[in-house]
Symmetry: C2
Subunit: 234 residues, 2 copies
């Protein structure tokens, strides 16, 4: 078994190097990278379908869709108006930095301010692989049930923001929001949270404002870095 | 990469050997093993909560609950009246045959006729690991969306029955049943399917009857095998 562990560690370490390279490419063009993670069917693509038109005129946006099979999600993102690249993982349960690097080759990053990476639908594997994005966002959904933070703690611990989708279904399912939020706060105190419904549009504006603010912070950071390394800014 | 592939193949092959050993243990006591798989929150535990009282007096039942963390599911299965063993996978995204073997050690299989294994919530990884159970059952759920067969083909191809849970939410979400079923039939023609709602109880009886019939077939097969190997039955 020790040989297996070592191989896995080498793979993770190689991934981290490639993730750092992806991050440097995004930083060079002041692109904010968001890594969207969720269970299958929690609403990653639906959130993208709200985010693309919602940020039109504010941010130039591209989407990378990771899936085990099909290009359904990239087709939906493109139909919503985004530049979209599909990555098929060939059975793998998560995206990795190599896959994202390949997708970045397909994009003109100089024309992009926000890159949304839609990871494979899975609450376990994607949590272990840095892609080189700047923010990890988890989408939970009400019909999944209120025990998910307790059952998938690694995922909930590692994210920078949490979307709680399908709040319009609250009247029709048993979901104890207090119990859910208590679990979240235990693992990730003070986590920024957006209860919303991609179906009705309720709560989406707060999410859009947060994304826009993150992209602005990324642009400011990139401008600061450029100023401190250029002779005129010294 | 070839070394990694070889290691993974060795792990899978070791797993298959242990799965065969688990199956032999179940067969020796004429226990039917069901492997329940689904996304997080599709309703595996809820179906168990319906199945345990629903089969009371018809079948003696035990549950093995696989989770990344917590014993919430085994607690719920036990509260519903089942003998329940919790397996924590320590971060792994699926159960494997070693884990099930360890759980079988905790059970008196002579007192069990139906063993339900609740796998880790995941539509990808569990599909690759035989546990030694006799039937693979997938639980889909209406709010997950109608595109899941197309996006997770390996899982849909490898199952013996499909439960479509949360049909009571059909009026509140967009779910095209024809499109969903077309995808299922493409991958797994003639698949036995149970549309139901664990919340309302609608459709649960047909599921219970199917499970009971599978367990009876397993008992008959075990009796046949015993007769053909014993001198008196020759």
């Amino acid at each position: 078994m020790s040989r297996r562990v070592q191989v896995v560690e080498n793979i993770l370490s190689a991934n981290d190097h490639l993730a750092a390279a992806n991050r440097a490419r995004l930083d060079a063009d002041a692109v904010l990278g968001l890594n969207l993670m969720a269970s299958p069917g929690a609403g990653k693509t639906a959130l993208i379908e709200r985010t693309v038109p919602g940020l039109e005129g504010r941010l130039r946006l591209a989407v990378v869709d990771g899936d085990v099979a099909t290009s359904i999600d990239a087709d939906r993102a493109a139909a919503a108006g985004a530049v979209a690249v599909q990555v098929n993982t060939g059975g793998q349960c998560h995206m990795d930095a190599v896959m994202l690097g390949g997708a970045l080759d397909e994009l003109d990053l100089g024309e992009v301010e926000l890159l949304i990476v839609e990871n494979v639908g899975n609450l376990i594997c994607p949590a272990s692989f840095d892609l080189g994005t700047h923010r990890n966002v988890l989408i939970a959904s009400v019909p999944e049930g209120d025990d998910k933070p307790y059952k998938y703690p690694t995922m909930y611990r590692g994210v920078d923001a949490l979307v709680i989708n399908k709040v319009d279904l609250m009247p029709y399912v048993e979901f104890d929001m207090d119990y859910f939020v208590r679990g979240v706060q235990l693992l990730n105190p003070g986590l920024t949270t957006f209860p919303l419904s991609c179906r009705t549009g309720e709560g989406v504006d707060a999410w859009l404002d947060w994304v826009a603010a993150q992209a602005e912070a990324q642009r400011d950071a990139a401008a600061g870095a450029a100023a401190s390394t250029s002779p005129s800014g010294a």
